[in-house]
Symmetry: C2
Subunit: 120 residues, 2 copies
DNA sequence: GTAATATAAAACCACTTGGTATAATATTAC
DNA sequence: GTAATATTATACCAAGTGGTTTTATATTAC
């Protein structure tokens, strides 16, 4: 039946929900940018931002839950590093629909041609 | 001064915030998928979902504000079509950091090698 | 041991989000 | 004109988010 057939899809939807939402905050994107240079501790990641440590820590947890960041507890510091694999998931999502979008863009161009030619 | 220097960046951050957040909902991604096949009216877009029309309409507005969907009011129907240009923005964001991420992935692999070899 | 450090946890608050139901607006059909 | 249709607008609600302060927990330094 349909319920079992769509279970994997739902799983992927949840993953993409978490991923895109995690990326939908500039503080978190900035943290990823920082981690792209090198691993860092929670404190180091929080330092550039005008917010309390708990706030930054929560952002980090969102990134972690999305699978974008790994954490290795090393004594009393938590060393965080970027995990780019989930970014691949985002890329695959884009790639999969790019095909259709390109076609749509072409047909849209034709559609617009015989209509009001605004800033499309 | 720094304020003026970062203004363009802030603008882009806002655009990316809206984009990623718009994509962070499976209903909206599903609508984009639908629009990738062909333009559709609000009613047609809302039909497959188990929610009221106003709810679907609001999702559509989020997509519109993110620049992912264009709307052409045609009598009493609003014909919506996908605008893939902003997807290019997402792709550029990914591409820009992929470079660093690839490097990070390599150095991470080395890092993990002389440590506990878990599922990285 | 005590004190300092790095971090998370808990409780709270304002704002946003995703949904609802209902009302309003504009267009088409009769 | 009136009625039906397609859609938005408004008011509302529950849950989620992004922030705070305060408290707790481990670890390191002395």
């Amino acid at each position: 039946m349909k319920g079992t057939a769509t279970r994997g899809k739902v799983k992927r939807d949840e993953r993409l929900d978490r991923l895109f939402r995690a990326l939908g905050d500039r503080t978190r994107r900035s943290m990823l940018r920082r981690l792209a240079r090198a691993p860092a501790t929670v404190g180091e990641l929080a330092e550039p931002f005008d917010m309390t440590l708990p706030a930054a820590s929560k952002h980090l947890r969102v990134l972690e839950r999305a699978g974008l960041v790994n954490r290795r507890i090393d004594g009393r510091v938590h060393r965080c590093s970027l995990d780019s694999r989930q970014l691949g998931e985002v890329r695959r999502w884009l790639d999969h629909y790019q095909r259709f979008w390109d076609e749509t863009l072409a047909s849209l161009a034709r559609h617009v041609a015989d209509d009001a030619g605004d800033d499309s």
